[in-house]
């Protein structure tokens, strides 16, 4: 047996239990989502449905307004991420490249900002949004998500930026480029993987956020997915689990696929900064 094969067997034995637990929710979602409605509450419960009830997905799609919610989630998360990056990039650049008074202070400010979770401040945030007339506006979420992810994004990007050799930029200046030109033409392209990774992290946070969306949005047609699905579960007299699971499954699989495609880039991006 080759060393690699031995190692592979050993690793999979160790990773196996974790893989089972990680895949378990997906199996549950699929199993329940494909059960006909009258087989959900059967005792003893079984994994396999008597037939594959694909109609659950169709019913769920219209019952939950799934398409709209999906679009909303995409829209809000993308806008939040973009805004967050736009604001964080110059700050991260300042932290990584310049020496200035108050740098340490700003660093600590970021850490403190990172500690605040929206749930702790939710009433205050709501009042603020109300005062700005942004209740029931998706822009309120975009602003809030950008603000709450800002610290992490700045922090993360500045550590990457620091690993991009200064000489490259300096070379550009010698070639007659202004600071701004070198920033846009030389520095940012080099930092692109870091931006991508930070962007993905931020996007996931926005995509998953729940409490603020619940507090600020009012119209169902503006709800993102998490909220729309939670409405099916929270406090109803009756829960259609097959619809709920179909919805969670449909909401999750696209993200999982994106992960599968991006995982290499994600890890490479995380390490890239440090590669000399």
């Amino acid at each position: 047996m080759s060393r690699k094969l031995k190692r592979s067997i050993l690793f999979w034995l160790v990773l196996g239990p974790f893989a089972v637990v990680a895949l378990f929710p997906y199996a549950v979602m699929l199993s329940t989502a494909l059960k006909p409605g009258d087989e959900i509450f059967v005792f003893p419960p079984t994994w396999l449905p008597s037939r594959l009830a694909f109609e659950n997905f169709v019913e769920m799609w219209s019952a939950t307004g799934f398409g709209t919610a999906l679009l909303n989630s995409l829209l809000i998360a993308t806008a939040g991420t973009v805004l967050s990056l736009l604001v964080a990039i110059p700050a991260a650049y300042a932290l990584a490249r310049l020496r200035w008074h108050g740098q340490g202070l700003y660093r600590q400010f970021l850490l403190v900002a990172q500690m605040l979770s929206p749930i702790v401040l939710v009433i205050g945030i709501f009042r603020l949004m109300a005062a700005m007339g942004l209740v029931d506006s998706q822009w309120a979420l975009v602003l809030a998500y950008a603000a709450f992810n800002l610290a992490f994004a700045t922090w993360m990007m500045s550590s990457y930026f620091r690993t991009i050799p200064k000489e490259i930029e300096e070379a550009a200046w010698i070639d007659g480029a202004t600071r701004m030109q070198s920033l846009v033409r030389v520095f940012l392209p080099l930092a692109l993987p870091a931006l991508a990774v930070t962007g993905i992290f931020t996007f996931i946070n926005c995509w998953n956020e729940f409490v603020l969306a619940l507090t600020i949005l009012r119209s169902n047609e503006k709800y993102p997915l998490t909220l729309q699905i939670f409405t099916l579960v929270g406090g109803a007299y009756k829960i259609n689990w097959h619809h709920v699971m179909a919805a969670t499954f449909a909401a999750t699989v696209p993200v999982a696929v994106v992960f599968a495609l991006l995982q290499r880039a994600l890890v490479r991006g995380l390490s890239l900064g440090s590669v000399k």
């Binding site: 009042r127 603020l128 300096e170």
Partner: protein
């Protein structure tokens, strides 16, 4: 040229971020501080200045202390568990083996489901009568009657911790993996030639090189887990008899179910203070170890 102190341009660069956070986060903080010092009714109408009465109310509340203690337990076990599991996972994923690509995807999978949805799926899986956990245990012959996993603290809380760990692993492992893959391969090769065993390599090379990444992972996880709401809220709502309440779930009940916005605001501040102390301690420790390293 780069090493000159350049405060003005730097301030211009950080200005947007400062403005955004002071605006969106700063105002709510002010609002919470103000609320915590006043008597405020269910609907946010401010009545009288209350001094520290809201804090006093909390300190007289046994559920608050029980939740505080449980929050510590929750944070320490979830973060500890996530780190302890993520280190070997990241180390493995960094090595070359058959199916590594799939393994990396699997490790990240829990991340793809939002926390609230994960919790909903687990809640359904844990249903004593119809859930898939028990279905599996029945079929394996381990159980012969329904067991309600969420019916008591003794089973519910460990399960919540386990789920907390599960959902924290993707982020933690990714950060650590990023750190690992930034260690140049030639360092290892040199060590292997010197005859270092796997464990020695890990203990004396990998671990120290990973240290900054471990620190980031710990700090961010502590902050996230301490504030984590959906898992416990969806699974047990702090029940039975408040035995699985942590600070955030109790805070939510105080504010939105019981309408005690003022006491809840006081609690927010206490939570904030706890995290502040933790991070301050972290900064001091990190700085000290940095000095030692240098």
């Amino acid at each position: 040229m780069l090493d000159r102190t350049r405060t003005l341009p730097a301030l211009l660069l950080i200005l947007p971020s400062l403005a955004l956070s002071l605006w969106i986060i700063g105002y709510p903080i002010y609002d919470v501080v103000y609320t915590s010092l006043h008597e405020v009714n269910r609907f946010g109408r401010v009545r009288d200045f209350a001094g520290l009465a809201n804090f006093a109310k909390l300190f007289a509340d046994p559920i608050f202390f029980a939740s505080l203690w449980r929050t510590v337990l929750w944070t320490v076990t979830v973060v500890g568990g996530a780190i302890l599991l993520s280190v070997p996972i990241a180390v493995m994923l960094n090595e070359d083996f058959y199916g590594r690509g799939i393994a990396r995807v699997i490790v990240m999978l829990p991340w793809a489901i939002s926390l609230a949805m994960t919790a909903i799926v687990w809640r359904w899986s844990l249903n004593g009568q119809y859930g898939m956990i028990n279905a599996t245990l029945f079929q394996l012959g381990i159980l012969d009657g329904p067991v309600e996993w969420l019916a008591s603290f003794d089973t519910a809380f460990p399960i919540e911790i386990a789920i907390g760990i599960l959902v924290s692993i993707p982020f933690t492992a990714t950060v650590l993996l990023g750190g690992l893959s930034s260690i140049p391969a030639d360092v290892y090769e040199a060590a292997t030639i010197d005859g270092a065993t796997g464990w020695q390599r890990f203990r004396w090379m990998t671990l120290p090189l990973m240290k900054p990444f471990l620190q980031i992972a710990i700090v961010l996880n502590v902050i996230n887990v301490f504030n984590s709401f959906p898992i416990i809220w969806v699974l047990t709502q702090g029940e039975p008899a408040n035995s699985t309440d942590i600070l955030v779930t109790y805070l939510y009940k105080l504010a939105f179910r019981y309408g005690r916005l003022d006491t809840a605001a006081a609690m927010s501040l206490i939570m904030f203070a706890i995290l502040l102390v933790f991070t301050a301690a972290y900064i001091v420790l990190a700085r000290r170890s940095e000095e030692k390293g240098a």
